[in-house]
């Protein structure tokens, strides 16, 4: 075990996978010489050279389309899209290209690429640099979408994502990069599609991913003071979704709050809520509560942004409401 920052854990995963497999290469804006604006790729151009670690022009649309076909033809590209807010520029490559080929070409091609990006608010970065957009990505069939919350999962899941033969969107969070945690030594992977129980509880289940897991854990402390025992489940993977873990937790607590940093309407929280209805309706003692971003753009000014973002306090409020 070693204590690491989330960004360092990602860096270690990239380094180890590049050392192990010469077909892995990295490209993206400012990832080489500068080491990435969040320093995730620091030192990798020096170690692996400019062929395997490339600084690119600002060309998200073409880069993503190129990752798809580079992956089809023998390499394992890891593309960094600097902000999730720029993901809309990549959508044709994901929705109309990557997601269809394996199926319509009847399994003739593989697409082992990873699109790493980071989203989320709370940094005062304004309406075009603060969104999560995970719901939009999880909507696409044929693409895995994962969003780890701890340094250990960041490392283990990135290694698994790079080895996966399907496209994987790997969602990071700007406010998680500096968080620290123990990371297992050596070649440990964490499977994609398996949830993790972060805190056991008996009164209510709270399901979250990424930075929202941190908020949910804080909410569990607040709820403990209210006399409520909350179970926190880190889904880790939005797609595929660990339905068994969700059902198991709800079978114990009979109440649920689903948390998502994205918009509410047609969002991932709505999907989770419907999934719970499909699989655990009989276990529920009350309607599922949602804690999400309200349906509007994210403003710059601190009090406005803070008022909008889902937080421990808002998760607590949602939990108390559904428990009443």
């Amino acid at each position: 075990m070693a204590m690491m920052r989330y960004a360092e854990a990602l860096n270690a995963a990239l380094r180890e996978e590049m050392q192990a497999d010469p077909s892995v290469f990295l490209f993206g804006e400012d990832i080489g010489r500068y080491g990435g604006v969040f320093k995730v790729t620091k030192g990798l151009m020096e170690e692996f050279g400019e062929t395997r670690v490339r600084d690119t022009p600002i060309s998200e649309q073409a880069l993503t389309a190129m990752a798809v076909t580079a992956a089809m033809t023998g390499t394992r590209p890891v593309l960094e899209i600097m902000y999730a807010d720029f993901v809309p520029l990549t959508l044709d490559a994901l929705v109309n290209q990557a997601s269809i080929y394996n199926y319509i070409w009847n399994g003739q091609v593989k697409m082992p690429f990873v699109l790493r990006t980071q989203g989320g608010g709370g940094a005062g970065a304004g309406a075009q640099h603060s969104k999560a957009l995970d719901s939009m990505l999880a909507h696409i069939p044929g693409i895995k979408v994962v969003a780890p919350s701890t340094p250990a999962d960041a490392k283990g899941m990135l290694k698994a994502a790079i080895r996966d033969d399907q496209p994987v969107v790997f969602l990071e969070h700007k406010l998680l990069y500096n968080t620290r945690g123990e990371v297992p030594d050596g070649d440990e992977t964490v499977p994609l599609g398996k949830a993790a129980t972060m805190r056991e509880g008996s009164d209510i289940s709270i399901f979250a991913t990424s930075k929202m897991v941190v908020e949910a854990l804080k909410a569990a402390d607040l709820l403990a003071a209210d006399g409520v025992s909350a179970e926190i489940v880190d889904l880790r993977s939005l797609r595929p979704l660990d339905v068994n873990a969700i059902v198991a937790s709800i079978s114990k607590t009979h109440h649920a709050v689903v948390v998502n940093e994205g918009w509410r309407f047609c969002g991932y929280a709505a999907e989770l809520s419907a999934t719970i209805m499909d699989h655990a309706f009989d276990e529920l003692d009350a309607p599922v509560a949602r804690a999400t971003l309200p349906d509007m753009p994210i403003p710059y000014s601190e009090p406005l942004e803070t008022a909008m973002l889902p937080s421990a306090e808002k998760i607590r409020t949602a939990a108390l409401k559904t428990l009443k």
């Binding site: 010489r33 600084d55 022009p57 649309q61 640099h129 000014s301 406005l304």
Partner: protein, 323 residues
């Protein structure tokens, strides 16, 4: 020379460049004290581009700019206080604190607006020009964009249509040698990006972007053509980003000797020297002191202005009965 600004016009450009310089330096100082929020992209040393290019425009003309747009905001006629108040997220800001420094707009002044999706300003200005052509307003749209933005796919799509349809739009390329941290030679195989204008059948001119008079002249020529219905044009302004990419830049990739060389040719130095041949030292000193005082007052006021209060936006409500 054709389209040279009058002494009065140049003095006004100089004054606005001073406002922008003090604005940027004050932001830098407040950032050091931990009193700013989020990344701030300064344009010190590049003021001649945003200020002199927009000085050519009329109020009814529109401009779209980048994440580094302070010179365009002030150049197109916005007062300092609403810009500063916006940067500090105040209720009195140009957009009530919602936009922040990268996305400022003032529709009345024709600033619509800052844009932090790199490249997005290029089709934005082109669409405004399409509307102007359809309505026959006689106005012109301008896009100020970076060398990094010039590499986006949407740049090609928009410029192709601008050339094809002879739209009244002027593309002002602020070539400051860097994308974010990546030098332009790592982003493009050609040094002069405006050679691409030929592919869109539009004229282009390369100018010293630190010389406000040169920027003004070249942009005027393109604006006049566009206003006459002769189609778009491009001006490539060569300049240099002397500060980091933003206040969150960790540095280490710009050469100190390059920074020093460009600082020696600062646009304020270039304009002051030219103006000193026309007006006296006393007049310039007066303008300089007044500009400093104006910016200091704007900061003092903005920093004690109230913060906005949050309310849900009904226009975004998916269950709204108003829809």
């Amino acid at each position: 020379m054709k389209n040279t600004p009058s002494v009065e016009q140049h003095l006004e450009i100089y004054r606005r460049m001073l406002l922008v310089r003090h604005l940027e330096e004050s932001l830098g100082a407040l950032h050091k004290e931990g009193r700013t929020r989020g990344p701030i992209h300064r344009c010190d040393g590049q003021e001649a581009v945003g200020v002199a290019a927009t000085a050519v425009l009329e109020t009814g003309d529109k401009v779209a700019t980048t994440h580094r747009g302070h010179a365009v905001y002030i150049g197109k006629g916005m007062a300092v206080h609403p810009v500063v108040a916006e940067i500090f997220g105040r209720a009195t800001g140009a957009c009530g604190g919602r936009a922040g420094h990268m996305l400022v707009a003032d529709a009345e002044k024709g600033v619509i607006g800052g844009n932090a999706i790199v490249g997005a300003g290029i089709p934005a200005a082109t669409g405004m020009a399409l509307s102007m052509q359809i309505l026959g307003t006689g106005n012109v749209a301008m896009c100020v964009f970076g060398d990094g933005a010039a590499q986006t796919g949407i740049c090609h799509e928009a410029m192709n249509m601008a050339g094809l349809w002879k739209l009244p739009v002027v593309f002002v390329l602020e070539h400051n040698q860097f994308g974010l941290t990546v030098p332009s030679e790592v982003q493009s195989p050609v040094e002069d990006l405006s050679i691409r204008a030929a592919g869109y059948a539009m004229p282009a001119e390369i100018v010293d972007g630190n010389d406000a008079v040169a920027v003004y002249r070249a942009v005027s020529t393109m604006v006049e053509r566009a206003r006459r219905g002769e189609g778009p044009g491009m001006v490539e302004c060569k300049t240099y980003r002397v500060e980091g990419f933003s206040t969150s830049d960790m540095g280490g990739y710009q050469k100190p000797e390059d920074i020093a060389a460009w600082k020696a040719r600062d646009p304020l130095i270039v304009s002051r020297k030219a103006l000193l041949g026309e007006v006296g030292e006393a007049q310039l000193a007066g303008i300089e002191a007044a500009a400093k005082a104006e910016v200091d007052e704007a900061f003092e006021a903005a920093l004690s202005d109230p913060m906005p209060e949050f309310s849900l936006d009904e226009a975004c409500n998916p269950y709204s009965e108003a829809h």
